[in-house]
Subunit: 764 residues, 2 copies
């Protein structure tokens, strides 16, 4: 049930509703979220330390506007009682609605058919709409519908898994409950963080004459009750419109008016109008972003599922953070991490660039906090938080939090990618430059030049969380190098703006020197890059004697044991070979991939997609296909057993990355867009589109050839397997795919091959 | 005030009383402790992890038996009011008592002279005795004395310094309060840990006729009130006897009887008798252990102060832990760490070997808990807790707790030293062997053989807490090597006992091979040993730009910043050169010492004594003298600004180590006792005694020569500056001291030379 609530979640990036049933119960985790509406909670430390954050931010379950309860004669409709003849729920990726269709007989023998359609509008950001239809099947039935707004719902406790969000009891303090005819409004404020929110519901229905409508308000509850009697085959249709608003600054009356206006506008549009807008918005998205795969229908479904949810997470976040779980659950406390920039934003950059721009503007808006944090830690410049909602560091375990400085390079990388892909120089000047400059300042302070003149960055944690506080993590060093070079370039492009930030020539020289002399450790004995200095000298994890039940390792072994051994939670050096593929030779990639493949257990969902990308590049096409399948089914098959607390957004973005960067071989190093497509053995065709500097480029791949097609815009010069090609609008180019080199076989740790998943229960 | 309460603390290792004033107030930190009587407190984690301990143990302030309040006519005696004409307190190292002598005029003009003598008996372990005398000076005065037992005293809050103990409110639950004539008994139980304690007080006084005695009991309070009227010059003398007992198992009546018996025995002995026993006990100790230094009277006082407190901490601990602060304060939660074995036990081994044996038997008694912990962490054998009272791991910050595996080698080293020094083979067989075997099992599991066949130990934290989770910490590797060799040897010596522990030949072979192939990193470029692999590649701490107010660094910089740089909190590689001096050449010692001297900030009190020892060995005699001075004055001058929460016991032991191992050049590697004495420039004579296999050896050092003298026992062959000498009982041998080589100068980080301390206010 928890999993289905996540899978069926609706969101526009601003509002998120878990797929809870209309009637509220049974539920696993009730969830209604407003992006960045959080409560503070103290972070306790048995042994405190300098610079440990004192309070954390947790996403809260806001006033729930979903419930429409129903009394059928004397029986409350509840699927746990009576008899459920059929019950189908469909998440429609084209229409952007969640549909439900069921037939139920009450314990007293009254049979009704129910249909509901739920929508979180992409177009009207503050609006949720639900259409609820009930029809008696074989005899007249008295129907009472209770439509509610509920604040401070009781939540299940979160258990001991540290990855599941801390659950806070009753975070909302009531300021106002108000009702009027068929509507009710609740205004609350969070107790500690002092954020104000309002929710209003209003209703429309057919056949006024026979319907008795009453409105009640209680503590934390608004209820509109509609009572009527229906003949068999007669349908009663209720439309519920809910408006949400929140602010840290606006007054109670202002917020109340705001949600009232939102509901009024939605009423004006009407339910059908909202649906039409929704469809139009999605038609536009799919026209750009749809990925078609022939040869695996189940995977095709999973691909669209992932794109739909990535869009839902980012579409209207609008300068607020995109959390790791989107707005589909309270997992990870609703925090955003580096994976938004590293996995989500590449997808949005090429399919919904405006959303990518907004997400980066959110990061930019937190720069003052990042500067404060850097100052507290003794650095110049800025350092972004490892996990946060609003911008303050909320990580309470510094070896895998503060020490993971790579997040700063990840943000910078996303900035550079966005600017390269869009040519948005205004963004570069107004936002990008400041991010690049402040992070470059951090890097030169964090690292140092050693006796041999190499620039080292010691004591940091890379992406792989099964190592910590290491020296010269290759990923970090290479990404910092890109960050420093990027800063040098943007400063040269916008000298006046740079001068405003106090950038001097000597400082830029320092960045350039650090980038040029960046140390990248290499193990000559093994002929591979160690993930960080000394990594390849460590003992190999005893995979052979690790039972399957002991994964994920972090829940069954102490960090100390994990850190001292060669075992990898998630792609780190392999991710460096994707994002900084320009820094490795093909031979190094082949050897490194084989070495790390045998050590990577994928206890994180941020690994398989990267392994798919590199496997495809090296020529392990079957392995790449298997990894892509794992990525695509991670949530649909609940492969990590925690989809219930929310979808793995970065992993869902990884589906696109695995397809486009993996099988499409798309690379975008330093603004140079190239392809090296090659299909998985079981597929017959892969087709995807992406936006590149205002053009829509479509690539279609078969086993033998690839076709590049420009729907519009200036001719585009790119590379296909290293060979330069120019694509002109309206003139598709088809080129042969060179035969694959069969690489030496690789293997995973015992028991850790790509996961195939169960037969997909969501596939129809 | 807090400092004086620590300095004037009395203890026998079983009971500890801070030097609070008789009348209770003013106080800084009231403190009465019973060794190992602790309360549990939850250890909170904002982000939990596998193997993190869930609850900690904190020493509690037990029922206070010290207070004797006085009413002088209508005025309570309180030094904050009225006029204090003189006030002297003397801690008498010969008599083992705290004396107080004062004259005070009340705000109403009544002048009285007060003397008190407080004693915690070395001979009667459960007994505290206080003699309180009051004499009106110039006119008759009505005197009321209120002698109290107070449980759950209110304590000041501990502030934010993580090093100061967590203070728990009212940890004791009353089970019984009882009074009888002139006595009262309080029985309590700790709320969470369920330990029962009883305290009883009884009284004796002169001149029964004129004294009205009443007894009252309240919640958490027993009070005996004596009222009398005194003429000028007439002295009223009250003797208060307090008995303490506690147990996790014994019943309430049993404990009540136990303390009653203790008080009865003490009454039978009488106050004078208790004082006489105390003096006899100390005469015996000083005859063995006294260290005489000519040329620095202040240092001479500090030396005896330190030895007295080391004896107080260890004398009657009797198979309970000796905490880092002894029983002088609640600092570090009353926990014991590795420093007991590494710093305290060498002193006790050579001056009070029975106390050393008892302390090691305590460790042995925790082996089951250490085995459980090892199992939890996935290791065979046993791993001792980093900090504990009873034996369970209480460290909530694993990088400086669990990862500091060296504690296991430190315990083993103390076992080996004790056995070598005493020849106590029964102890070796019954206790030592099991410790050595179980820790050897840990080491071979923790480390591994690398491709080159070297045995590496990765991911551990050495003594220096400004690095963490490092590979091949030289100290750890060398001490583990000794541990493994020791295990091989004791198994050979006691094959039957070893067989009982399941030790097989192949296992011993593994230990031997690990020891023989132990990897010790060396930096060829710099010609020094890195503290751990890669240490010398790190950036040097920016000492020049670190203001004095930013020490200790851990309170002003994040761990991450500290760990990634070359900066040392406390001797680590230098400690390895002391304890495993046999593993370094003299040239290496000289170069290493210079290198690490420039990086060591001594933010720990466990450093200066080791630096003194190595400075003396290398020939930096002035520097050694300065470090010894710092060690000796650490608490007397409150050099670390936290003596108030208790004395630094290991540092106090370091005074003896600095003198005997430093200026005496005493080394005891693998049971071979040698000397290389050399005096500090300002001194004229140093004389110390030590027990070696039942003999009392005395060494007297002047600028030119050293005299070895055996008070009793078989002839002893040792070495003097490498030259073999044999000392026979009664025949002193005087040998020349070879001229010192003047070493190249060394320097400390800016602003961190040895601390000289203020003119000692305690010196008289």
């Amino acid at each position: 049930m928890a999993q289905s609530e996540s899978l069926f979640a609706l969101s526009n990036g601003h509002i998120g509703l878990r797929g809870n049933l209309d009637e509220g119960e049974p539920h696993s985790l009730p969830g209604s979220y407003l992006n960045s509406l959080y409560e503070l909670r103290p972070l306790p430390y048995a042994e405190a330390g300098y610079g440990y954050p004192e309070s954390g931010q947790s996403v809260i379950n806001v006033t729930n506007g979903k419930p429409i309860r129903m009394l059928v004669d004397d029986e409350p409709f509840d699927v746990r009682y009576g008899e459920l003849h059929r019950h189908e729920r469909v998440l429609d990726f084209r229409d952007g609605v969640l549909r439900r269709d069921l037939e139920w007989t009450s314990p007293a023998g009254r049979r009704v058919a129910v249909k509901s359609t739920r929508l979180v509008s992409f177009v009207q950001r503050s609006v949720v709409a639900i259409q609820y239809e009930v029809t008696p099947v074989d005899e007249p039935v008295r129907i009472v519908l209770q439509s509610e707004l509920i604040a401070n719902e009781q939540l299940p406790s979160a258990g001991n898994d540290p990855r599941v969000a801390a659950v806070m009891e009753a975070p909302l303090e009531e300021e106002e409950v108000e009702s009027n005819h068929s509507s009710a409004t609740l205004v609350h404020r969070t107790r500690r963080s002092g954020l104000r929110m309002a929710a209003m519901m209003d209703h429309q229905w057919d056949g006024d004459d026979d319907v008795l409508v009453t409105v009640n308000c209680y503590q934390d509850l608004g209820r509109v009750t509609l009572s009527t009697t229906l003949d068999p085959g007669q349908t009663f249709r209720l439309t519920k419109l809910v408006g949400y608003g929140w602010s840290s600054r606006r007054s109670r009356p202002a917020l109340r008016s705001q949600v009232s206006a939102a509901v009024t506008a939605a009423k004006h549009t009407g339910f059908d109008g909202l649906c039409a807008e929704q469809r139009e918005y999605l038609d536009d998205f799919w026209a750009r972003a749809d990925v078609q795969l022939d040869g695996d229908e189940r995977l095709q479904q999973a691909i669209r599922f992932s794109l739909f949810h990535v869009l839902q997470a980012g579409a209207r976040a609008e300068q607020r953070a995109i959390p790791a779980k989107g707005l589909t659950g309270s997992g990870y406390d609703g925090h955003t991490f580096w994976d938004t920039e590293t996995f989500l934003l590449p997808v949005l950059t090429y399919t919904a660039p405006r959303a990518a721009r907004d997400a980066l503007r959110w990061r930019h808006s937190t720069l003052d906090l990042a500067r404060e944090r850097a100052t507290q830690l003794g650095h110049p410049g800025a350092t972004f938080p490892w996990r946060t909602i609003r911008g303050q560091e909320c990580s309470a375990y510094w070896p895998a939090g503060t020490a993971a400085y790579h997040i700063n390079a990840d943000v910078s990388d996303a900035v550079l990618r966005y600017v390269h892909a869009t040519g948005d120089l205004e963004f570069e000047r107004e936002y990008g430059l400041e991010i690049l400059v402040e992070t470059a300042r951090l890097w030169v302070s964090l690292g140092h030049s050693d006796a041999a003149g190499k620039f080292r960055i010691d004591g940091v944690t890379g992406p792989d969380e099964y190592s910590a506080i290491t020296d010269n993590n290759v990923y970090t060093n290479l990404m910092a190098q890109r960050n420093l070079r990027g800063a040098v370039n943007v400063v040269a492009a916008h000298p006046e703006k740079a001068a405003e930030l106090g950038v001097a020539t000597a400082e830029v020289q320092r960045w350039r020197r650090a980038a040029e002399s960046m140390y990248v450790p290499y193990d000559e004995r093994l002929g591979v890059h160690p993930q960080a200095t000394g990594f390849t000298d460590h003992e190999r994890w005893d995979f052979e004697n690790t039972p399957a039940s002991h994964y994920p390792l972090l829940l069954n072994y102490p960090y100390g044991d994990i850190y001292r051994r060669q075992v990898i939670k998630q792609a780190d050096l392999v991710l460096a070979m994707h994002l900084r593929g320009d820094a490795f030779t093909p031979e190094q990639k082949t050897r490194n991939f084989a070495y790390y493949e045998a050590l990577t257990v994928r206890d994180s969902s941020l690994s398989a997609c990267t392994q798919a990308v590199l496997a495809a590049e090296i020529g392990h096409m079957r392995l790449a296909q298997d990894y892509l399948s794992e990525v695509a089914l991670t949530d649909l098959d609940d492969l990590h057993h925690n989809t219930g607390s929310g979808l793995h957004m970065a992993n869902l973005a990884g589906v696109w990355l695995g397809l486009v960067a993996g099988f499409g071989g798309m690379r975008d190093h330093d603004g140079s867009l190239t392809f090296a497509p090659r299909l998985a053995p079981d597929w017959t065709r892969l087709r995807f589109g992406m936006i590149w500097r205002g053009r829509l480029l479509r690539v279609e791949i078969t086993q033998d050839s690839a076709t590049y097609e420009l729907a519009e815009g200036e001719p585009l010069t790119t590379r296909h397997h290293g060979e330069e090609i120019t694509v002109e609008a309206g003139k598709a180019i088809t080129v042969k795919i060179p035969p694959a080199v069969t690489p030496v076989p690789v293997n995973q740790p015992p028991g850790r091959p790509p996961l195939v998943g169960d037969p997909n229960p969501w596939f129809s």
